[in-house]
Symmetry: C2
Subunit: 194 residues, 2 copies
């Protein structure tokens, strides 16, 4: 039987990553999140922390341009190079087994290539602020500013590599407000669809 | 116990109206769709067909301005008058009983006032085109043009009266691609949440 892949795209602080992890446990299939990062690190020879951070920066120009923008590997910017590694690994993983993949534009990379269930997880600013302070603690910036910054980066990164609007509901099969429904209910619904 | 209301906002041709009808049957509560239109007609003294059509026009100015724009009732434009009638009836219905309400900005009108489950139903252009041709037949315009026109009207109407973006996923608790999931599955998921 063909592999069935669930991709989870999520707003920062929505608990989408936890939804993915619990869903994979419930379905008895692997969840690629940190594991994917480790694979990208191994394949690219770059540090995991660097990739996690860089993975959500647009590669060049605009307000997100960084000091790293002109570094290159084989003539590609670091970000474009990481994108090619990430794309290759996601295609390999999906060809190998049924799984859950969190983030990293997997929804776009696999679209039309696999039996996909594309999920978007979001929550209100209040719920997400509460969650990130609980999980990652306070910083100099307000939780709202941290959320807005992170959302902007994800949206810009997604837009750059996919030429599509991040979080636009029409790209997904289902979108769930984890703040109201709760993580468990989200997991149940997705598992029921799978 | 407090009334529980499900609001269904939907893209034209997505089958959201059918989802609402079947959901209400399954839950054993009324569905307000045509019934709401009839109530608005009765209360306003205007014809149902006129309201159905007018209900999705923005009241004044811009590219949707119409020959009706300067008619008025008690100093209100027809559209503003219909909005006040619609708002009053939706508040009355929701105060009276648990129910499903399709369209008519009920999600916005009832927000914060009732125990609400806000649903958005959408589908791909292809699936919607297929559906409207099957349901309403062919016309001089292509199905894609009819869908785009209708979506534009709904979005403009919603934006005008709510000052919010129609179909933006963050306004809803759950959003469902009826084209992929199918109407029955959508009904099951919503009923499960209710």
């Amino acid at each position: 039987m063909a592999n069935r892949i669930v991709t989870i795209s999520r707003e920062f602080g929505s608990g989408g990553r936890t939804v993915g992890k619990h869903l994979a446990e419930k379905l008895g299939i692997p969840c690629y999140d940190q594991e994917l990062l480790e694979k990208i690190a191994e394949e690219s020879g770059l540090a995991k922390e660097y990739i996690a951070e860089r993975g959500e920066y647009t590669p060049r120009g605009g307000w997100l341009a960084t000091a790293f923008a002109d570094r290159s590997v084989n003539g590609l910017s670091i970000q474009d190079y990481l994108w090619t590694v990430q794309r290759k690994l996601i295609l390999e993983i999906a060809a190998k087994e049924s799984c859950v993949i969190v983030g990293r534009c997997a929804d776009y990379i696999l679209d039309g290539k696999q039996d996909l269930l594309k999920v978007f997880v979001y929550a209100s600013m209040e719920k997400r602020a509460e969650r990130i302070v609980k999980l990652y603690g306070e910083t100099g910036d307000s939780p709202e500013k941290r959320l807005r910054d992170k959302d902007k980066r994800r949206a810009a990164y997604y837009q750059f590599y996919t030429d599509m609007e991040w979080g636009k509901v029409q790209h997904y099969h289902i979108a769930l407000d984890s703040g109201t429904l709760g993580v468990d209910k989200c997991v149940d619904i997705i598992a029921g669809l799978y």
